[in-house]
Structure formats: structure tokens, C-alpha cells
């Protein structure tokens, strides 16, 4: 199968193909019409000449008379005067009785079997004196004495005038055909682009969609496009189902992992209180930390699945960002306290946005959780809420940790992608991804910046105001 690029450039688009095909049809029609007009024009000119020649020969034949057994002829002036009606052509004539020339050009050939009927003429094209001539012969029987004598009158004329008229008309017809062709090509191009308009608008409708938008397309399309539309909708439906199934699977798996982990943690805590040896306590603390990290990763997986799931049909609750920030920082306070980290809230509400409260909470929690995790002990984390402009709220989380490694800023929100400077800190790489997906679903965005004084990281959640 040939790929589109192996085709010549003018054959790659349907519009161009249609235009070229229509132009081809127009060219064939133009040539055909030129040929038809030319042929008819030539035939008409030839017919006209024939008629004039017949009239001339008949006029001469009518002037034949007989007097006392002698055949007399006075060539009528009009018989020759009419012959320059078509053009400047050479004229030859011969009047003969039984093979004997009465007058005219002796060597002008006469037909072997002339039509004898009165009013009928024999018409020939022949070569005479180095020129093609059209010759007309009429026969009239004259009574010479007692004897009827058939007299042949032949009038011949060269065809210069006929050819001049023919080629003139042919040129006119050629001009008209070219004009017709140009017009047809123009109209063809318009028609082709018009016919392709539904296809183009269909393609635009598909490409305008967001990356996660798998809703079926609902459009009026021409009959030719409806199989494509149906196939595309079916494909999107299957794709959506498949994505949903895997998210459900992940959520289920995360949920199932989290519950036994909680049990393991409780048991490990109990064991910590019962053992005496410092080595054993250390061992158990390591177990508890590992279980915590696993539990946290499982939560994030669950969060991520929740985001994917809930973003499809986003709730439109009223959410106060100030209240949300307070709630999330309260939730993380115990963990922060363990490292002597202070979360300083600078949020004055109300800051209303519309959206899914659970998702927004999950987004902020993941961001703040990251900050707590990567901040060294005894530092501050500032959470600030401000109005960015008349359309957006900005919720900024600023820590004094190791910050982002500069080259990796845009990649950090990709799934399972972690910074280059994370060293021994355990993490899944899902936190910022979750935050970004939530904000995308709400029509907002996430901004990662390095603060001006260089220490720590700054993450801004930007959301449209309600």
C-alpha cells in the first residue's frame, strides 16, 4: 500500500484530485465542442460553396439555347459574379456536348457518369492546375435540330475562401472553448471545496476536542461521512470503556492493598511498644515508615483513579478555596508536626470556585503533601490565597525545601515522573500529576516556579473564579 507521501503533491488532497478530475472532464468537453463546431462550420462553408456552384452551373445551363440546329450559349454575367461571394477563389468552367468542349477549359475533367436528372448536380473534389477544386456538373439536354443533345456544364472553384472561413470559425471556437475550460475549472474548484466543507468541519470538530474528551460526536453529516462518524463514535466508546475499566481496576487494587497495610501498621505499632531492644525498635520503625509510604502511594493511585473517574462528569459545587486550604492543612498538620514544620496559612475567604470539592481537596493535599515531604525539618510552608486578576484565584504553596531541578520543570507534572534531585526520598511521582489533572478538568492550570531567593519550590494552583 502506498503512503500518502509517495503520491505526487497535487494528488494528495481530495480537493485537488476532484479539481483535477473536473478540469480533465472540462478539457475533454472543451475539445469535443471545439471539434464539433469546427466540423460543422467547415461543412456549412463547404455546403454554401456547393450551393453557389450549383446555382452558377444551373444558371449557365439555363442560358443554353439552340437556333437552327446550332447550340448557342451566352454566359450569364451573374453566373460568374456570384462566385466571389465566398472569397477570392480561382474559377474554372467547361461546357461540353458529347465530349466536345463548346467553351471553357478543355482539360477540366468531367464526371464519368453525371447525374442526368434535371435539377440534380454531380459534386466532386479534385485536383486541377495544382490546386484542390470543388467541381459541380449539371446536365441539360438541348434539342439541336431533331436530335436531343446532352450538354454538361461544369463549374469548379478552389477552396481558399472555404478554408479561410473554416479556420476563422475554428479559431473563434477554440477561443470560446478555452474560455469555457477556464470557467469550468474555476467552477470545479469552487464545487470541490464546497463538497469537502462537511469533511473539513468534521475534522475540525474532532481535532478541537480535549485529549480526554471521549464523548460521542453528535453532528449532521452527509450520508458518505456517517459510516466514518459511527465508526469513530464506536471506537471512542470502546476506548472510554477500556480506560474506565483500568481506572476501576487500579482503584480496586489500591483499595485492597491499603486495608491490609493499615492492619500491618497497627500490628507494627503494637509490637514497637512491646519490644525492648533498640535494634528491634529501629527495625519496626523502618517497617512502619515503609508501610506509610506504601499506603501513601496506594492513596495517590486511588486519588488518581478518582480524578480520572470524576473528571468525566465534573460536579459543580460551590467551593471556598480558603476553607479548603484550612481543611487540608489541618489534615496534614500531624505529619508536619513530626518534622517540626509549620504550615502558615494566609488565606482570607471567601474565594468561591465551582467544581468538585473532593477533587480540589485531593489536588491541594497532594501538593502540600509533597511540600511537607521534601522540606527539611524546622522550616515553614506558606499557603497563600490571592486574586490573580478578575477571572482567576491563585493558591500558592511555597516551601523552603530542595526545590525543583530547573531543567525538569515542565516534565514534573507527567505521570510517574520525578525530579532529578529527589535522592533517597520515597515517592511515586503521581502527586503533581493528580493536581494538574484536577486543575485541567476545572479549566485552571498549575504553575511550577522557582522563588526569586532561590530556596525551595513554589507551586501555584490557578482556578477560575465562580
Amino acid at each position: 500500500m502506498s503512503t500518502i507521501n509517495s503520491l505526487p503533491f497535487w494528488w494528495r488532497s481530495i480537493g485537488q484530485r476532484l479539481t483535477i478530475l473536473l478540469a480533465g472532464v472540462a478539457a475533454v468537453l472543451a475539445i469535443l465542442s471545439w471539434w464539433t463546431v469546427t466540423t460543422f462550420a467547415r461543412e456549412a462553408a463547404e455546403q454554401t460553396q456547393d450551393n453557389v456552384l450549383v446555382a452558377s452551373a444551373t444558371t449557365i445551363a439555363e442560358a443554353l439555347r439552340s437556333e437552327q440546329g446550332t447550340i448557342l450559349l451566352e454566359l450569364p454575367y451573374s453566373a460568374f459574379a456570384m462566385l466571389d461571394a465566398i472569397g477570392q477563389d480561382r474559377v474554372f468552367y467547361r461546357v461540353s456536348a458529347e465530349g466536345v468542349t463548346l467553351t471553357g477549359y478543355d482539360d477540366l475533367a468531367e464526371p464519368v457518369n453525371p447525374v442526368g436528372r434535371p435539377g440534380a448536380a454531380t459534386v466532386r473534389t479534385m485536383n486541377y492546375r495544382d490546386d484542390m477544386v470543388r467541381a459541380v456538373t449539371v446536365q441539360r439536354t438541348v434539342l439541336a435540330g431533331q436530335q436531343p443533345v446532352p450538354v454538361l456544364v461544369t463549374v469548379a472553384q478552389t477552396r481558399t475562401g472555404v478554408e479561410a472561413i473554416g479556420s476563422e470559425l475554428s479559431q473563434t471556437a477554440a477561443g470560446l472553448s478555452v474560455a469555457l475550460f477556464v470557467l469550468a475549472v474555476g467552477l470545479g474548484a469552487v464545487a470541490a471545496s464546497n463538497a469537502l466543507k462537511p469533511l473539513n468541519s468534521f475534522a475540525q470538530a474532532v481535532s478541537r476536542r480535549g485529549p480526554a474528551d471521549l464523548r460521542p460526536l453528535r453532528r449532521q453529516v452527509p450520508a458518505e461521512l456517517s459510516p466514518l462518524l459511527i465508526a469513530l463514535n464506536r471506537l471512542m466508546e470502546r476506548l472510554g470503556q477500556s480506560i474506565r475499566r483500568s481506572e476501576e481496576f487500579i482503584a480496586e487494587a489500591a483499595h485492597r492493598v491499603r486495608t491490609p497495610l493499615a492492619t500491618v501498621r497497627v500490628q507494627a505499632e503494637l509490637a514497637l511498644h512491646t519490644v525492648e531492644k533498640e535494634e528491634e525498635k529501629q527495625m519496626l520503625r523502618r517497617i512502619i515508615r515503609a508501610v506509610d509510604e506504601s499506603s501513601r502511594s496506594a492513596s495517590q493511585l486511588l486519588d488518581h483513579a478518582t480524578v480520572s473517574f470524576r473528571a468525566d462528569a465534573l460536579a459543580q459545587d460551590h467551593v471556598d478555596l480558603a476553607e479548603l486550604a484550612a481543611r487540608v492543612s489541618d489534615g496534614l498538620a500531624p505529619t508536619a508536626d513530626m518534622k517540626d514544620i509549620a504550615i502558615i496559612l494566609n488565606c482570607r475567604g471567601p474565594a468561591d470556585v465551582r467544581g468538585d470539592a473532593i477533587l480540589l481537596e485531593s489536588a491541594l493535599r497532594n501538593v502540600l503533601d509533597n511540600s511537607v515531604k521534601y522540606s527539611p525539618a524546622e522550616t515553614d510552608i506558606n499557603v497563600t490565597l490571592d486574586r490573580m486578576d478578575d477571572k482567576f484565584w491563585r493558591l500558592t504553596v511555597r516551601d523552603h525545601g530542595r526545590g525543583f531541578s530547573a531543567p525538569s520543570l515542565p516534565d514534573l507534572t507527567a505521570r510517574f515522573q520525578r525530579g532529578t534531585n529527589v535522592d533517597q526520598v520515597v515517592g511515586s511521582g503521581l502527586g503533581l500529576t493528580i493536581a494538574k489533572e484536577v486543575l485541567d478538568a476545572h479549566g485552571g492550570r498549575i504553575e511550577l516556579t522557582i522563588p526569586e531567593d532561590g530556596a525551595g519550590a513554589c507551586v501555584s494552583l490557578i482556578l477560575p473564579a465562580a
Binding site: 440546329g69 446550332t70 447550340i71 448557342l72 450559349l73 451566352e74 454566359l75 450569364p76 454575367y77 453566373a79 460568374f80 459574379a81 462566385l83 466571389d84 477570392q88 477563389d89 480561382r90 474559377v91 474554372f92 468552367y93 456536348a97 458529347e98 466536345v100 468542349t101 463548346l102 467553351t103 471553357g104 492546375r129 495544382d130 490546386d131 439541336a144 435540330g145 436530335q147 443533345v149 481558399t160
Partner: protein, 350 residues
């Protein structure tokens, strides 16, 4: 009489008439060689008198000094006969446009196109082979002395009345062309006969008055000037005007009913060898003819054919109709009618 005998006798008569001297040597009336500085010699055969054409030839040579010109003067019939028989000439100039037309029609002329020929009016050329360069009317010339005190007739009717009422003035004092020997005279006569039946009445009257028959316009004008003729009918207007300019014994009769206008034509014969020089010569002729007033000759310009009185009947159309009166049967019929009218004195009848 049985038909074949009849046909044979007809043909014999026709042959006798047309070919006066079959394959005879070319009879020249005049000849002059104008040497050029180069080797090219243009052979011109013409019916135009040397004195009329010499200034033109000298003007042409002044512009093209390398071309030598061999100028031969002959009658229109001789010219036609010579070219039909294949005589070698580079340019043929004739006042008998019917014979020139027949030469072209029968393939004895070759085509020539140049910006000058394309500037010609359509009616003044045929197939780029025959080119007209003057338009000359046939006129009647009278002697002032004889016509002293006589009111000038303004139509042919008036002229007929005048001839009829004054036998003493016009008896044996009328000159006209002998149409049997003069191609131009035959052309004028046939075209006039076609235009008006007064021609025949005039001819009968001229025959009655014992008209003298001439081969050429110049001689007729000479005889009018000398007082031997009172009236010369159907004289070439150009010759007459040129003579009257320097001879006050002559006068052109202003006949207003109609005018027969002949086109003087030139062609390049098929036998021509110096076709390039012949083309230059034709171009120069046509340029002179298209000028309103020529400085080199006294011939009327081509534009004379477009004056209102000339347009009424002419100029004689350059077309196949010219073949009609050249047809031997028609010629015989016309000449016999003409002879009946003109040669009433049996002694003059050959």
C-alpha cells in the same frame, strides 16, 4: 446540320479569333534598358507608355540603384499571350484588368505579400496576386475648335442627340477603340454595354457616322488635337488629362450619367526569376498609387475609385465575372454585335 460538325466549326472559328498568330514572337512597341549598378535586371512588361512610366522607373532606381530595369511596352493582348505561353518576365503591368485576372486565375501569376500590399483596399487586390495601383475612368475627349458655340452634352443621351442632329460636324470625325484588337477597348465596351443599353445606341450612331477605329488612346488624342477628329469616345482619362494640361485645343466631356472606371494592375508572373526585386517594384507602384497626388506620373490615384460618381458603377470589380466576356462564345457574340453596329460600311468589314 449534325451536331458534331457544328461544334467543330464553332471551335475553329473561336480558335481563329483568339490566337491571331499562334506562338508568334513577342511584338514590342517600345523597349528601353535602364542599367543598374548591380547584376540584377528586372524584366518589366507593360502596356504603359514609356513617357508615362519613365519618371517612376528613375525614381525607383534612385531608391534601388543596384537594380537594372528592362522595360518593354506592348499591347495588353500581346502581354497576355506572351505570359500564357511562358515568356519570362518579373513584373507585368496592364490596363486590361480582365486579362490580368485571367492570368492569375489560370495560374500564371505568383502570390506576393508585404505590409504595402496588406494596406491595399480589399477590392484592389485579388489573391495577393493581382494588385491595382490606379483607378482610371474612360472619358470622351472633344476638340474645342469644333465644339465652339455648342453646348456641352452632360449625358450620353445628350451626346446621342448631338451626334444625330449634327452630321456635318461628326461625319468621319469620331474616334473610338477597335475592340477587336484593343484589350482595353474591349473591356471598356463590354462593361459599358453591361451597365447601360445606351452604349449600343451610341455605337450604332458612331457606326453610322463612319467612326474611325484606333488601337490606342494616345493616337486618338493626337488626332483630336490635330483637328482630324471632333470626338474621341472612351479614351483613357489619365492620358487625356495629362495631354490637356499642356494642350488647350482639347477638352474632356463631363458626362455625369455614369463612368466606367478601370483598375490598372500589376502582377508577378509565375515565370519570374527576380521575385525579391519584383516585390520591391510592386511595393513602390502601390505606394505611388495610394498617394493622393503623385509627383512621378500623371496617373490618377487609386483613391479616385472612391469618389461618388466613380462609386455609382465602378470600379470594375476584380473578380471571376471578368472571365465572362473573355469566354470565346461571349466574345464572338459581343464582337459580332459590335461589328453589326459599328461597321455599317461594308467596305470596312473584314
Amino acid at each position: 446540320m449534325r451536331f458534331p460538325d457544328l461544334a467543330r466549326s464553332l471551335i475553329a472559328a473561336a480558335l481563329l479569333h483568339c490566337l491571331g498568330g499562334p506562338l508568334a514572337a513577342l511584338e514590342l512597341e517600345d523597349q528601353k534598358f535602364y542599367p543598374g549598378t548591380g547584376e540584377v535586371v528586372l524584366k518589366v512588361i507593360s502596356t504603359g507608355d514609356l513617357e508615362v512610366f519613365e519618371p517612376f522607373i528613375l525614381a525607383f532606381q534612385a531608391e534601388n540603384p543596384t537594380i537594372g530595369i528592362d522595360y518593354s511596352v506592348t499591347s495588353s493582348a500581346e502581354l497576355h499571350r506572351a505570359l500564357t505561353q511562358g515568356a519570362v518576365f518579373d513584373v507585368a503591368i496592364s490596363s486590361a484588368m480582365d486579362l490580368q485576372f485571367q492570368l492569375a486565375n489560370d495560374g500564371a501569376a505568383q502570390a506576393y505579400t508585404s505590409p504595402v500590399t496588406q494596406a491595399l483596399p480589399v477590392w484592389a487586390q485579388w489573391r495577393n496576386q493581382v494588385f491595382a495601383f490606379t483607378a482610371e475612368p474612360a472619358v470622351a475627349v472633344i476638340s474645342r475648335e469644333t465644339f465652339a458655340g455648342i453646348e456641352r452634352p452632360t449625358t450620353r443621351q445628350d451626346l446621342i442627340a448631338l451626334l444625330r442632329q449634327n452630321p456635318e460636324i461628326f461625319q468621319d470625325a469620331i474616334g473610338t477603340y477597335d475592340v477587336r484588337s484593343s484589350g482595353l477597348g474591349y473591356l471598356f465596351a463590354t462593361q459599358e454595354a453591361r451597365n447601360s443599353d445606351t452604349y449600343w445606341r451610341l455605337s450604332e450612331l458612331m457606326g453610322l457616322r463612319g467612326a474611325a477605329l484606333y488601337c490606342c488612346s494616345a493616337q486618338m488624342i493626337d488626332d483630336v488635337a490635330a483637328g482630324r477628329l471632333s470626338l474621341a469616345y472612351n479614351v483613357l482619362g489619365s492620358y487625356a488629362a495629362e495631354r490637356i494640361a499642356r494642350d488647350d485645343r482639347l477638352e474632356i466631356l463631363d458626362l455625369q450619367d455614369y463612368a466606367t472606371v478601370m483598375l490598372r494592375t500589376a502582377l508577378i508572373p509565375a515565370t519570374a526569376t527576380e521575385t525579391a526585386s519584383a516585390g520591391l517594384f510592386i511595393d513602390r507602384l502601390l505606394q505611388e498609387g495610394m498617394r493622393d497626388e503623385s509627383r512621378v506620373w500623371a496617373l490618377p490615384p487609386l483613391g479616385a475609385a472612391e469618389t461618388p460618381e466613380a462609386r455609382a458603377y465602378g470600379p470594375i470589380r476584380l473578380g471571376p465575372a471578368l472571365l465572362v466576356y473573355l469566354d470565346r462564345l461571349n466574345r464572338n457574340a459581343f464582337l459580332s454585335a459590335w461589328s453589326d453596329a459599328m461597321l455599317q460600311d461594308a467596305a470596312d468589314n473584314p
